[in-house]
């Protein structure tokens, strides 16, 4: 058990290192000069002043140092939890900008990923081997899962937001409101949350339902199912066993899909101008905000890695075979 998790942690550590390095590299090798745009924002024409500002900002952000030094500094700062200062929202620290956006993203991703997984699995399992449901659910599932996130998001925004006017199409809450803990505000939050959530939920749902339906059919054909039927066990018990076994690959699937799901969530946020990390990334790119971009990516990488690690632990709990493998096989 210890060796297993030790190895896992090592792999996660390596992944983290590589991801953070790539993370650091991407904005620096992007075309464009953030300092130039900052200086341009200040509308200074005096060449000397421009030069002074340029030197000041370069020094402030540490961009005047050689690349390798910047890289070392970056890790040093990271160790202190210091992500640097945002260029776009100068002089707010990146950490503050991100902390404001994270709750929105989490509130979107966690329920949509978990709920779509749970509901999709239940639904797929129920539909398997039931002709009528199978013939209706399956095509709908394929259509849903083949849809790009943003396309469904745009459709929903257009249908429920513009055409029917039931839901707002932009923002995390009404512009007329100030964040507070009143019921009206919470309801307003939910109202804005509904459409982005729904688009994420629906796209993922189809995939899980199809996967589960196929797995259940496979499990119902398996030897232990035939044996139970031959002993006259009711189909309720056989289906329960099949579900238990079929859910294992679905858990692996969840771990594999996590990155895609997060990417989808980020794009969806942009469609609905939802004030989460996705919108933040867009703004950071538009403003060549190295530090914000770095910080956001880092946060996402961390989140995905942690989620994967949790899934690893869950898998060990639900599949006795992994545990048996860890303890060494017994005769």
């Amino acid at each position: 058990m210890r060796r297993y998790f030790g190895r896992k942690l090592l792999i996660y550590g390596l992944t983290f290192f590589v991801a953070v390095t790539v993370n650091w590299m991407i904005p620096r090798f992007m075309p464009g000069d953030p300092i130039a745009s900052m200086v341009a924002r200040a509308n200074v024409t005096n060449a000397q002043a421009v030069e002074a500002m340029r030197a000041y900002y370069s020094n402030l952000f540490g961009l005047d140092q050689p690349l390798w030094q910047q890289y070392v500094n970056f890790w040093g700062a990271l160790a202190h939890g210091d992500f640097g200062i945002s260029i776009w929202l100068f002089p707010t620290p990146v950490t503050d900008v991100i902390t404001q956006a994270v709750p929105y993203t989490l509130a979107l991703i966690i329920p949509s990923v978990l709920l779509s997984w749970v509901v999709g699995n239940r639904f797929g399992a129920y539909a398997a081997r039931r002709k009528l449901l199978d013939n209706t659910v399956l095509p709908v599932g394929y259509v849903l899962t083949a849809m790009p996130y943003m396309w469904l998001a745009v459709l929903l925004a257009w249908g429920f937001g513009v055409l029917l006017g039931w839901f707002p199409v932009a923002g995390g809450y009404s512009f007329s409101m100030r964040p507070n803990w009143s019921w009206t505000f919470v309801l307003d939050l939910l109202h804005h949350w509904a459409l982005p959530f729904l688009s994420l939920f629906l796209v993922a749902l189809g995939g899980w339902a199809i996967g589960m339906r196929n797995m259940i059919i496979y499990e119902l054909e398996s030897d232990y199912s035939s044996y139970l039927s031959a002993l006259g066990a009711p189909s309720r018990l056989i289906r329960r066993y099949a579900f238990r076994n079929a859910v294992l690959p679905q858990i692996t699937g969840l771990a594999l899909q996590l990155g895609v799901l997060v990417a989808g969530a980020l794009v969806t946020e942009i469609v609905f101008a939802y004030p989460g990390l996705g919108s933040l990334i867009l703004k950071a790119i538009q403003n060549k905000d190295f530090f914000l971009l770095q910080g956001t990516f880092l946060f996402i990488v961390l989140g995905v890695l942690i989620a994967n690690f949790i899934i690893d632990i869950v898998y060990v709990v639900v599949d006795p075979r992994t545990r048996a493998g860890m303890a060494g096989a017994q005769a």
Binding site: S222, D223, Y224, S226, Y227, L228, S229, A230, L231, G232, A233, P234, R236, L237, Y241, R244, N245, L248, V318, D319, P320, R321, A324, A329, Q330, A331
Partner: protein, 313 residues
């Protein structure tokens, strides 16, 4: 009479037409009798085993009846057949190695299975039977993956017979085992019969030598029909059907070196059951076939309990 099968016809539905896997089987099985069912692949022996407990979706009963202890079994009604499964007819499947749910500990699986059939688990009885086949009791608290192949096989044997069925079908149970394990399994099956856990047993196999050790009666099938049925010793020592004789001749004998003579197989192959030829189905491969073999031979009782379907016997 515990089991009576009369004129049973079970066909497989395929796109090309019906495959007549069982074409009019009639036989009886007494209480306490172990029947060895032998024949080459595709002769219908597994189909017969399946028909008695659970037909798969492609199988169709065309005619005939199966009566167990005076009740006619609704073999082609999956739902009504459930009442008889496990309690009256039980199965040790060919795939015993993978017959246990991999994600349940064995104790829990057995408890849930029994509860689903409306019975509580009698742990003392279960453990007694495990002792009898030499399974340590810790096995109950393990997952199937933690057991060896032989242990899984024995566990399945114990589970299948837990409700003391009247008829047990052991379908190729020894095919995947090495010789020493085969012997242990055969002995365990005999023990089950002698302890009264099962009244009678059909032992489906293609291993004539092993069958001889445990079966009271051996039934040889060919191309969906009964060829010969007789007490085990008679089949081995004085077979009357030419197919049985050739089958025995194709087995190597212990202590004999086959340098002079090559071990003969039976030339040719069984007829297609999709559209079987009229008359005796063994005719084309039979060394003594004659004119009359164009007619189908009836099953005749040549001596008490010795049934043969051959004109020349």
């Amino acid at each position: 009479m515990s089991l009576q099968v009369s004129e049973l016809r079970v066909y497989y539905r395929t796109l090309k037409g019906d495959v007549r896997a069982l074409d009019g089987m009639t036989f009886e099985l007494r209480d306490g009798e172990i029947l060895g069912l032998v024949g080459e692949s595709g002769c219908g022996k597994s189909t017969l085993g399946k028909s008695l407990i659970r037909m798969d979706g492609r199988m169709r009963r065309v005619g005939g009846t199966v009566t167990l202890d005076g009740h006619e079994l609704p073999i082609d009604d999956d739902r009504r057949m459930n009442d008889y499964r496990f309690r009256e007819v039980s199965l040790i499947p060919q795939y015993a190695m993978s017959a246990l749910n991999p994600t349940r500990k064995i104790r829990r699986m057995v408890t849930e299975l029994l509860r689903s059939r409306g019975t509580a688990l009698d742990t003392a009885e279960l453990e007694r039977r495990m002792d009898q086949v030499g399974l340590p009791r810790e096995v109950l608290d393990r997952y199937p993956i933690e057991l060896s192949g032989g242990m899984k096989q024995r566990m399945v044997m114990v589970i299948s017979t837990l409700l003391d069925p009247s008829l047990l079908i052991a379908d190729e149970v020894t095919s995947a085992l090495d010789v020493s394990t085969q012997k242990a399994v055969a002995r365990a099956l005999l023990g089950f019969r002698d302890s009264g856990y099962v009244k009678s047993m059909i032992f489906v196999t293609h291993d004539l030598a092993l069958t001889h050790h445990i079966a009271d009666t051996i039934m040889v099938m060919y191309a969906g029909k009964l060829a010969e049925k007789a007490p085990a010793d008679v089949i081995v020592k004085a077979p009357r059907h030419p197919y049985t004789r050739l089958l025995l001749e194709s087995l190597p004998e212990v202590g004999v070196r086959y340098t002079e003579r090559r071990l003969e197989g039976i030339a040719g192959s069984p007829p297609s059951l999709l559209d079987p030829p009229a008359g005796c189905r063994f005719r084309d491969r039979c060394p003594i076939a004659g004119e009359e073999c164009a007619q189908e031979p009836p099953v005749a009782e040549l001596a008490p309990d010795h049934h043969v379907a051959c004109w020349k016997a």
